[in-house]
């Protein structure tokens, strides 16, 4: 524990907050990619955070917090999948495995993707930014957005699909440019 002396100056709970804030996006992305549902992901994210905090005294600060956290997250995901309603639609095991492998590959790019997302989001037109604001900043459901904007549910899904595609293209381009410049 080479850095222990400097780290022990920071209270344990503050260390935890610091690490959690820095990396919780990765945990959430991994959980959402594994469960493919906002509500389930939110529940598991909260459970994972609780366990991370409870077990944080066992965490070796010289090891990788993200790897440690993802191990705990994976365990919580498995637990959640076991208790999840049978009525929920689940992909077959081959596809689940492929998704899991792909998520692990992409998780390292999250910080770059987030930076690009911030720039790309600002490039959207006002109407699309408003839709994103309602959905993600104000946590308004797609159904409520349809009601609020007086449009059909189908139309709103199409809008978000289009916005998603625009953001994906913009982010991919930004990442590719970055790679070239490196």
């Amino acid at each position: 524990m080479t850095n222990q002396s400097s780290k022990t100056e920071i209270p344990l709970d503050a260390q935890f907050f610091q690490l959690l804030m820095a990396h919780q996006k990765k945990f959430h992305a991994y959980i959402l990619a594994s469960l493919q549902n906002y509500n389930d992901a939110q529940d598991v994210m909260q459970e994972t955070t609780t366990i991370l905090w409870r077990k944080f005294s066992e965490f070796d600060p010289d090891t990788d917090f993200v790897a440690w956290g993802l191990t705990i997250a994976k365990f919580q995901i498995l637990r959640h999948l076991k208790t999840r309603s049978r009525s929920k639609l689940c992909f077959n095991s081959d596809i689940m495995e492929a998704i899991s492998k792909e998520t692990s590959n992409q998780i390292g790019q999250i910080d770059d993707r987030l930076l690009a997302l911030r720039q790309c989001r600002n490039k959207l037109n006002e109407r699309d930014q408003t839709l994103l604001k309602w959905r993600f900043d104000e946590n308004i459901s797609i159904q409520q957005i349809a009601e609020k904007s007086g449009r059909t549910l189908q139309a709103i899904y199409k809008n978000f699909s289009r916005i998603q595609q625009a953001l994906m293209n913009c982010i991919d381009t930004a990442i590719a440019r970055k790679k070239v410049s490196e």
């Binding site: 996006k25 906002y38 909260q46 639609l89 596809i95 992409q106 910080d111 997302l117």
Partner: protein, 576 residues
């Protein structure tokens, strides 16, 4: 463009739990291709980042629009008038961020967690203030233009009253009784309970005696008294400021008390909160303490001491009593019937046996009931048994609702017994209705246990559809309730309002300026069962109402909130 963009809509539906089995199968088929899996995971990560990324667009915005400038200046003026205690609270709120900046985190990693969301909001305010001052100093012309924006504006609504129980409360500054819409200010609850819902989603139950202040929809200042907070999973964070502590909610249920000596207590019943003492007398470097379910802590009045205490389940009211607010005594001498008539209804059915009726009853079970009582008075009502009994109203003049309209009535509903229940239907034939024939429909949604109301509208270049308004509070059964549905049409925009016992419980505005309100000349039925097929193929069935209706009135204009309150308050006198 990715070759897999066509699955994006399916992914969105899956994320939102609305994907149909056949759509899911289609998605699964596509994901046999490794490239599709790559696209799929990228899309999920994008949605995760959008979910977790809250304020980046605002905080990264380098240009200050006129509106933002206006807001910033108004905020500066308000800020200057705040008490010293509030400054201390702000300092406390910023401390976590200060702490983090000392740890030299990369910029992009800082403002993204729940706890930091609140911090980044207040930081943004401060940054805006600095920008405003610089702008004013730099250019007087700009300043003059800016001041044009500083005109008195209506206070923004921060929260709505969901329910009350024997409550007496006032806005401290004006001493005026509170309205259902709550704006920024200081308040006193002197008696009873009030449940309010903030626009950002948090629900708070306040227990009298209680003094509190509202500054925005993300938090509440509790100066004295008790409150309980419930924040559903997925909602943004919410904070409670007491004289000696800042409590930040991470999506949970907790209660806070402040006694007359200023001691604060925090009891966590579910989830997690962050607690931070906010001392005025020491240099403010105390840390946030993470509290979990079952934890309780007490912070001394000076904010210097935090002690662990036993959680007290019984100390706080965490759910409102089941009953809806009862009609209060009123000085009005006008009877309900007189009040309705004074507002010129198109039709008004009082269901008095002695009076001539101009409605038709169907079946042998739609009867005039005289056994139940409303407000301890003998009450004659229309009784429907939930088994295909209903009445048909008289024919109204053509296009009667073109400028808006109102339905107003008293309702006593029995539990819906696993079926949606119909209250009012406007369609040529409710028994064999087609989707495009359903013009208006009010009922009880048994899955959500709420009132739902629909009116058919059409947007430019889109198919007509049923435009919904829903109550934001569950129906309470076996109890009389005063219901008002008001639809306003102005300059092709539509506003729907749903009132329960005089309180606004649901509102919807169409932003689109091309709305056409359907006003087909078809019959209106009370309590009629109806079955129709939605455009997506789903069959909707509402069974006949099981319960009673009274004082049913239709107006060919939207009643105002004042009208609705007058109607409700006049109910203490002479309802038969």
């Amino acid at each position: 463009m990715s070759e897999f963009n066509h699955i994006d809509e399916l992914i969105l539906k899956q994320l939102n739990d609305t994907i149909q089995p056949e759509e899911f199968e289609q998605l699964q088929q596509q994901l046999q291709d490794p490239k599709a899996v790559q696209h799929y995971v990228k899309t999920l990560i994008l949605n995760s980042l959008l979910t977790e990324e809250v304020t980046s667009t605002l905080s990264n915005d380098k240009s200050l629009s006129a509106n933002l400038l206006n807001e910033a200046i108004e905020k500066d003026i308000k800020e200057s008038q705040k008490k010293q205690t509030q400054i201390i609270k702000q300092q406390a709120q910023l401390q976590l961020q200060d702490f983090l900046s000392k740890q030299q985190l990369p910029d992009e990693d800082k403002p993204v967690t729940h706890i930091n969301y609140k911090q980044s909001e207040s930081t943004f305010s401060l940054q805006r203030s600095v920008k405003v001052l610089k702008t004013l100093a730099a250019c007087l012309l700009v300043a003059a233009a800016i001041w044009l924006y500083i005109q008195p504006k209506p206070q923004p609504i921060i929260a709505n009253v969901l329910s009350t129980e024997n409550a007496e409360w006032v806005a401290a500054s004006t001493r005026t009784t509170l309205t259902p819409d709550i704006t920024q200010g200081d308040y006193q609850l002197t008696k009873g309970l009030v449940e309010i819902q903030f626009l950002e989603g948090a629900k708070v139950i306040l227990q009298a005696p209680c003094q509190f202040g509202l500054d925005g929809s993300y938090g509440i200042d509790l100066d004295q008294g008790q409150l309980s907070v419930k924040l559903d999973t997925g909602k943004k964070d919410f904070s409670v400021n007491t004289p000696s502590a800042l409590i930040v909610d991470f999506g949970t249920e907790f209660s806070v008390s402040v006694d007359s000596s200023g001691i604060s207590q925090v009891h966590v019943f579910d989830g997690q909160v962050g607690l931070k003492p906010t001392s005025q007398s020491k240099s403010d470097n105390s840390e946030f303490v993470l509290m979990n379910k079952g934890d309780a802590k007490e912070v001394s009045a000076d904010g210097l001491t935090v002690n662990t205490i036993s959680i007290e389940n019984e100390k706080f009211v965490r759910a409102m009593p089941g009953s809806l607010p009862k009609p209060t005594n009123t000085t009005s001498k006008t009877s309900y019937a007189q009040m309705v008539k004074s507002k010129n209804p198109l039709i008004y059915y009082t269901f008095e046996p002695s009076q001539a009726t101009d409605y038709q009853t169907f079946g042998n079970t739609a009867i005039i009931e005289s056994s139940l009582s409303l407000n301890n008075q003998t009450n004659h009502t229309l009784k429907l048994d939930g088994n295909n009994s209903f009445i048909k109203c008289k024919k109204l003049k053509p296009h009667w609702e073109k400028n808006g309209y109102t339905f107003s009535f008293w309702l006593y509903a029995k539990p819906p017994q696993n079926a949606h229940r119909s209250i009012v239907v406007n369609t040529p034939n409710p028994i064999e209705a087609k989707y495009h024939d359903v013009i208006k429909l009010a009922g009880i949604n048994h899955e959500k246990n709420i009132f739902s109301f629909y009116h058919k509208i059409q947007l430019k270049n889109e198919s007509p559809f049923l435009y919904p308004i829903e109550s934001n509070r569950p129906v309470v059964f076996n109890q009389w309730m005063h219901i008002t549905l008001a639809i306003k049409v102005q300059q092709q925009k539509i506003t729907g309002q749903f009132f329960l016992n005089g309180t606004l419980l649901g509102k919807i505005d169409s932003d689109d300026a091309t709305v056409t309100l359907f006003n087909q000349d078809s019959d209106i039925y009370i309590g009629a069962p109806i079955t129709y097929r939605e455009p997506d193929g789903e069959t909707i069935t509402l069974k006949s109402l099981d319960g009673q209706i009274d004082e049913f009135a239709i107006f060919d204009y939207p009643l105002s909130q004042k009208d609705v309150i007058e109607l409700f308050q006049s109910s203490q006198h002479n309802i038969n």
